[in-house]
Amino acid sequence: MLLYGYGPQILEGVKVTLALSLSALALSFLIGLLGAAAKLSPNRLLSGVATAYTTLIRGVPDLVSMLVLFYGFQMLLNDFTEAQGWEQIMIDPFAAGVMTLGFIYGAYFSETFRGAFLAVPKGPIEAGFAFGMTRWQVFRRILFPQMMRYALPGIGNNWQVLMKSTALVSIIGLNDLVRIADQAGKATYQVFFFTALTGLIYLGITTVSIIVLQRLERRYATGARMAEL
């Protein structure tokens, strides 16, 4: 039988892994934009907090931050519900995974976006203001599209690291691809087959991402001339 009868479960696991990575990507993208804005802000307090956030998160293994955030937050919640006399609320592993991964990779995205914002030339921005555009219009029409060109290689790297680190979320109890394949392997005594399959599926996701990123880079490079060597 195909996949020893575990086909549907594995497919379900792949869906969970993909949903988790994409949701975490969206969240970390947002946090990254905010973090970059805070780091570049003239407000000392704001940039100090953002710098502390990116330095701390990037200095600690993602698995450790994940465990601290997951268990730490659960305990805070327990203390709170106990004090209120409510029933215990268990954090859903999927939501916890999205939030912790988003929070961790938000730090990496902040750094990527900060560098990219700094690389955008000042002239077009000044020109935008001179045309009477609002700050939001300048951001949306001038700053963001140009920034994306510089940020894309970094975004691509961050995405691939993030996607691979979703494998760790199985450790805090999410039924993702890694966990389901692990259980399937133990149940059928085909551990070799199922761990190899997990690796191959991740490799497939990586391959698709590389192709998509190449297309995106070509799109955002419209009008940019490469130095001919």
Binding site: V60, V64, A167, F192, F194, T195, A196, T198
Partner: protein
Amino acid sequence: MMELVSEYWRAYLYTDGHRLTGLAITLWMLVLSLSIGFCAAVPLGIARVSKNRWISTPVRAYTYVFRGTPMYVQLLFIYSGLYSLEIVRETELLNLFFRVGFNCAILTFALNTCAYTTEIIAGAIRATPNGEVEAGRACGMSEFTLYRRVILPGALRRALPALSNEVIFMLHGTSVAFAATVPDLLKIARDANADTFRSFEAFGFAGLLYLTVTFLLVWLFRKAEQRWLSHLKPHKAH
């Protein structure tokens, strides 16, 4: 925090009374896997830039597979996957090797870091200015001498910033070693958490130790870059 630290600090740092544990194991794994990975990555990096397809393609396939999959999955594959095969269990030498979680962890980490380092070194070799190679050839250097005296010294210097990232990435990566029952820093934190239910403190203390080592490594690499890369610093305008 103080209570937990005063009870467990020894296990977190170097021993639980019976064996090496915690930070000591984490650093030992880091040094071992990085040394093995680096030594293999230099020849592989040279092979990766080879014009001969028969040499460069297998290396490319290797780095593609190991950079395209999570290290946690690689560890599960080597520790539980390979050992579930009968051939491995029945061959005495393989059985002896793969039975020990520590060996599997080192093998995984070394293979993983070697893949990344190979690509870093290959990239640095490709960035060698053509003039340097031409000058070397004009002096009558053989291919081997050219690599030893011109290409590699320059490429390894240029690779330093990327290598420092890789070292820190590996330090963080070793935290999955608990999956192979290695008593590394995170395993001790998990045990302390299971004993005391003080999750925030147990993992937080481990996080602080990782952070300290990260800062130390960053500082060391900054020193190394000042020493070996000072010729590439941007010139100050007068």
